[in-house]
């Protein structure tokens, strides 16, 4: 349904999207995950024909975004990052306007407006001025606008931002009910968001594709690794921070050590493990054997930022280890 090949988008100075390729099948819900400035919005803008690609191609429903923009736009419902609302209009009036803009005929419009106001739970503000709505309600009106013409493809840029927890759950339900005959791409920086709503995840960072995987695979991959907060205190005097860091890095299974804080005689670090490695016992032993006091050791959740580093750095390290193994295996083979 959506096909992106070698897509690159360059602004005056920055390369916002750098040679990314992916496909989305009909009926899928795909999460587009990345930290701020990753290029999510930019990719979505190219898909919706708002911006032309610098290089590469993108097509939606079989129509190329550059060659057949009108056809592409007919198939897409789009919720931009900031909902495109006219504050001087009433909700009903706005939805009728956007519906007509997207080609709904006059006889269908009332039925469609009724339906989307129901689905997005904005029935109680239908006659209010949009300018007087709260942020969450605006977001929902924006969402209603995106689905008003019942499009094949929904492109939603951070659809749950500004919503309360109850609403987030309702939106998730809504998305699930839309899945099947609609293809949905939604962007977010919240990992759990993707876990709940999506079947597949596309992760990008600084314009580059980091991973495309099913949500199950990804969570399995990540569940194996852990992040540990550790606080070290010298038994006598102040320990040398670089020395402590080096020791911690040498512990087997550690992928990254970041110094968080040094206060008086205490030093705190955050340590991440490679996938499938449990490092807490080894860390504790190392600290104690080095003659320092272990004042705190606890598991912390991986943040999205950590996951990116994990995915990029982890793959790098895993590749190195694999090649080392490959070398030893081949040496063993030669000896036999």
């Amino acid at each position: 349904m959506i096909k992106v090949e070698g897509l690159t988008k360059r602004y005056a100075r920055t390369v916002a999207v750098d040679n990314i390729t992916f496909e989305v099948e009909k009926g899928e819900i795909v999460g587009f995950l990345g930290p701020n400035g990753a290029g999510k919005t930019t990719t979505m803008r190219v898909l919706t024909c708002f911006l032309p690609p610098t290089a590469g191609t993108a097509s939606v429903a079989g129509f190329d975004v550059l060659e057949k923009p009108l056809e592409v736009k007919k198939h897409i419902g789009y919720l931009p990052e900031t909902p495109p609302l006219y504050p001087e209009m009433e909700v009903d009036e706005y939805l009728r306007f956007t519906g007509k803009l997207k080609g709904i005929s006059g006889s269908d419009i009332d039925r469609r407006v009724d339906e989307v106001t129901g689905r997005c739970a904005i029935g109680d503000v239908r006659n209010k001025l949009i300018g007087k709505l709260s942020k969450g309600y605006r977001q929902r009106v924006g969402l209603a606008q995106a689905i008003i013409h019942n499009p094949d493809v929904l492109i939603l840029d951070e659809p749950t931002s500004g919503l309360d927890p109850k609403q987030i759950i309702e939106i998730r339900e809504l998305l699930k009910s839309l899945a099947g005959d609609h293809t949905i791409i939604l962007s977010t920086h919240i990992l759990s968001e993707v876990e709940h709503s999506c079947q597949r995840v596309i992760i990008i960072n600084q314009g580059k594709l980091v991973a495309i995987d099913s949500v199950d695979n990804l969570t399995n991959r990540l569940r194996g690794s852990e992040a540990v907060a550790i606080e070290v205190e010298a038994a006598n005097g102040r320990p040398n921070p670089t020395e402590v860091q080096q020791r911690l890095e040498q512990v087997a299974g550690v992928s990254r050590v970041v110094m968080r804080n040094s206060k008086d005689s205490r030093l705190s670090f955050e340590v991440e493990s490679l996938q499938g490695r449990h490092i807490r016992a080894d860390l504790a032993r190392t600290v104690v054997q080095s003659g320092w006091n272990l004042s705190e050791l606890k598991a912390v959740g991986l943040s999205l930022e950590d996951i990116f580093l994990q995915l990029t750095a982890g793959e790098e390290k895993a590749r190195q280890e694999n090649s080392v193994e490959a070398v030893t295996v081949s040496q063993e083979g030669a000896q036999q």
């Binding site: 032309p52 803009l101 997207k102 080609g103």
Partner: protein
Amino acid sequence: MKNILLICQKELKSYFASPIAYLLMAFFGLIFGFGFYTATRDFVRFSFQAQMMGQQGPMNVNEQIIRPLLGFASTVALFLIPMITMRLFAEEKKTGTIELLLTSPITDMQIILGKWLGSMLLYLCVLAMSAINMAMLFAWGKPDLQPVLVAYLGLILQGGCLLAIGAFISTLTKNQIIAGGVTFFVCLLLWLLSWFTAFDSSASAQVVNYLSIVTHFENFGKGVLDSKDVIFYVSMIFFSLFITSRSMESLRWRA
């Protein structure tokens, strides 16, 4: 066509949802009323004097009231145009609603024509404020209708032209104030040029004069309908709307 009218309708609604439409109409109505009052007062005084001096024959309402009055109106309208056009694109760029329009299945040209038409209708509403005073003239004097209609046609064409230029300027920035300021400056420049070139008969002055949107109004103001002037205005409108669409195109490539 349906899409153009849809955009046009939306523009009109938002003009009338804010005080700007009413302010412009009230302002123009007052200024025009003031001009009307001065012109008729002078007219009455002069015709009274003429009678005292024994001169016969009625004085001409067309020549002495309507012509200067509508000339005055064309200058006033010149300075109201920026207030109408400044928000056309700049506001949508600022609030992000442009993203809705540009990702909907309608063409850039439909958006531009819709917006221009909307601004045109507001401009007509503003001009319509002169109707009361005009009606008084027709009830009291016996002016010729035809030159009045020609002058109004001139006002409409000149307005359409400047509105198209204003729309173009509004695509260049996110900032309404800048869009309005630059458009105001352009109108001011056109107005000043028409003053300077009026006393200059050199070739360059003639060229500037031809290109000046304001000077083409002069014939209309006299009640003379010259196809040259009409063609000039109509092609200026097309040209401005065309560069507006180019500007929107490049907006996508740049931003």
